[in-house]
């Protein structure tokens, strides 16, 4: 059994007057893939964005409760959100490479964090990150062409490489395959299996098959509440809650 990496306790999230998450508590384990499933608008993405404090960007959003990583409270005043995000990378629903070259997309993070000083260091990080994202062989001859010129699946892997480039311990993925075709999706899933050896991965997904294929643990959200969290096998074969049962058998959602 891996040790607990992220621990969320009694999370409430509000968008203005509207409450989006109700008292969510959940542990996520190191070097595993944890999937968050549930119907649209159930709060799973909101929960994911609590882990790297991406919700801070939204003026009207406020978070109550406690999220800790390796025992450190990430909402503590002493934590700088920039260094938190250096350790908790994120991949978004729609591939969002910067409209710059492939190389620059990856070099950006290490550069602003001062992780590499010489050009050779950066070259190395770029190559390593692309290797880990299984993209290097496809783009090695056109590193200086725009990242936006790649196919959707390649763009998403570029974004994964960009997340990896700053050496995070955790990678959050917010429906990373929702804009991709099945072949590109398969590649990303394969990649996740590789990445989980090194990183803790939390993935939000709409596809129950995907959750079943890639994750070790699965949490089911419904109407802002965490209904059930257990090993993926249990959730899909023998869920403890009727709502989970209804959702995975396709009766609603």
């Amino acid at each position: 059994m891996n040790k607990v990496k992220i621990s969320a306790k009694n999370i409430d999230v509000f968008y203005g007057d509207k409450q989006a998450l109700f008292d969510v508590s959940m542990d996520m384990y190191e070097k595993e893939v944890t999937a968050l499933i549930g119907p649209s608008g159930c709060g799973k993405s909101t929960f994911l964005r609590c882990i790297n404090r991406m919700n801070d960007v939204i003026d009207i959003c406020s978070v109550k409760g406690n999220v800790s990583i390796d025992g450190h409270d990430i909402y503590d005043k002493s934590i700088r959100v920039e260094s938190l995000r250096e350790n908790v990378g994120m991949v978004f629903q729609k591939p969002n490479p910067f409209p710059k070259s492939i190389y620059e997309n990856i070099a950006y993070g290490p550069r602003i964090h001062g992780m590499a000083n010489s050009k050779t260091d950066i070259d190395e990080i770029v190559e390593n990150s692309l290797q880990k994202a299984a993209l290097f062989d496809e783009v090695k001859d056109r590193l200086h062409q725009p990242g936006t010129g790649l196919s959707g699946g390649q763009q998403q892997r570029l974004c994964i490489a960009r997340a990896i480039s700053v050496n995070p311990e955790i990678i959050l993925m917010d429906e990373p395959c929702s804009a991709l075709d099945p072949i590109a999706t398969a590649k990303i899933e394969e990649l996740m299996n590789e990445l989980k050896k090194e990183f803790t991965i939390i993935i939000v997904t709409h596809s129950m098959q995907q959750a079943a294929r890639v994750s070790t643990k699965t949490g089911f959200f419904h109407l802002g509440k965490l209904i059930e969290v257990d090993s993926t096998e249990t959730i899909f074969s023998n869920p403890g809650n009727q709502k989970t049962q209804d959702y995975i058998t396709g009766r609603f959602g």
Binding site: E82, S83, R85, M90, P99, Y108, I112, H113
Partner: protein, 423 residues
């Protein structure tokens, strides 16, 4: 099965009617623009030409040995008194004229600066002046307008500024091949003048240019910074809403109000020199700022939020995300807004009238602190003048102003095309 039903017929008919209406509207707009351009062009193009008349000048009467001119400095030549000599040179065109009045009328077919033109010829060619040189002198406005056909010759003499005898002189000179119609370079390089044939737009071109540069230097950085702060950093609350509403209001304030502000505050309180491009630029900046801020905010808003999130997610600070990724993408839009704002400022007249840029300025300004006119104000000034020569110069100035405006708008379009990012 595929019958055209009555209902469909009706719909198609109304569609045709709608299209005809649209095309009529566009044609109207085009026709008016065309009429405007034709009208301005037809009355303005002749201002770019002027009539000159050749006379023989015997420089040896100034100094016996004309090679000595080469040793004189320009200043020394300028100090020479050549007034009587110049007059005599002109009289020599018609040696038979004895009557003083007729002599005076002969002199009047030339512009009043004939002495200076004879000197300038000397300065320009002092290295190798021959005894007798042919010098082309600018004709007076009356003669110029006769040459250009703007002045009907068949009017009775008492209703003409030009007398019969002057017309006679002119015709003789023309038959002798002494009249030359040349490109009017001084029109583009000189300042204003009380004599229409000598007046130029050089002063107001430079004045407008200095004003626009002042506007650019002041409003571009302020506008961009304000827009970036309001759009990216400021939390939205009552106070920022208030600022936003006021920026939009500022864009709608009649420009003459800014002129009053300039007069009341910038001239009277801060005591900056009046009639200057610096003050004009400050006043016009107030007008241009809201345009730049609104355009920049719109183009910042158009940058997809995913770009900001992408940068924030790798640990960039908010400022880094904005300055490294968002602002560069918004720059083409911001620049377009700036250029359009500058174009507005270039064509603006009313506020400049109030801060004294409507003064009669003969010198071409050399710094933003010199008194100066500007192109639209020059149009205003000349449009009020009675002499026929100013009519064509007014139109020519409008042509130049429109030309600069078209250039600026073209630059805006090109920048937008070139740097537009696709994602």
């Amino acid at each position: 099965m595929f019958d055209v039903s009555a209902n469909l017929k009706k719909r198609l008919k109304s569609e045709r009617r709608f299209q005809i209406l649209c095309i009529t509207a566009i044609s109207f707009a085009l026709i008016f623009v065309l009429i405007l351009f034709l009208n301005i062009f037809s009355s303005g193009y002749s201002a770019f030409y002027k009539t000159t008349i050749a006379i023989e000048v015997d420089y040896s009467q100034v100094i016996e040995d004309t090679s000595q001119f080469a040793t004189m400095s320009d200043d020394e030549i300028n100090k020479l008194d050549l007034f009587r000599f110049s007059k005599k040179s002109i009289y020599s065109l018609f040696p038979d004229i004895e009557d003083r009045k007729e002599k005076k009328l002969l002199i009047r077919i030339f512009s009043i600066e004939y002495e200076d033109e004879i000197k300038q010829f000397l300065i320009k060619n002092k290295e190798n002046i021959n005894k007798i040189e042919t010098v082309y002198l600018t004709a007076s406005d009356d003669v110029d307008q006769v040459r250009k056909g703007n002045y009907p010759r068949d009017l009775p003499e008492e209703r003409r500024r030009i007398k019969d005898i002057q017309l006679e002189y002119y015709d003789i000179l023309e038959n002798n091949g002494r009249v030359k119609y040349v490109f009017n370079i001084p029109f583009l390089t000189r300042g204003d003048s009380r004599e229409p044939e000598l007046a130029g737009v050089g002063g107001s071109i430079v004045g407008s240019f200095l004003t626009i540069i002042t506007v650019l230097i002041l409003s571009f950085p302020i506008g961009i910074l304000a827009a970036v702060y309001l759009q990216e950093f400021a939390r939205s609350n009552r106070f920022t809403d208030f600022i936003e509403i006021n920026i939009n209001n500022l864009a709608a304030v009649p420009s003459i109000v800014f002129g009053l502000l300039g007069l009341g505050i910038i001239l009277n309180v801060f005591g900056l020199p009046r009639s200057t491009p610096l003050v004009g630029g400050i006043v016009l900046s107030l007008m241009t700022l809201p345009t730049i801020i609104i355009a920049t905010r719109a183009s910042l808003r158009a940058v997809p939020p995913s770009i900001r999130e992408g940068a924030l997610a790798v640990g960039a600070t908010k400022m880094q995300a904005v300055m490294h990724h968002v602002v560069p993408l918004a720059m083409p839009g911001a620049l377009t807004g700036t250029i359009i704002g500058l174009a507005q400022a270039l064509g603006e007249t009313a506020p400049l009238l109030l801060i004294g840029m409507v003064a009669f300025v003969v010198d071409v300004p050399s710094s933003p602190l010199d008194a100066s006119a500007s192109l639209p104000v020059q149009v205003y000034l000349w449009a009020e003048s009675a002499e026929r020569g100013y009519v064509e110069k007014t139109s020519a100035t409008i042509m130049l102003l429109l030309g600069f405006l078209i250039l600026l708008n073209l630059a805006a379009v090109l920048i937008r095309r070139k740097f537009e990012t696709k994602w």
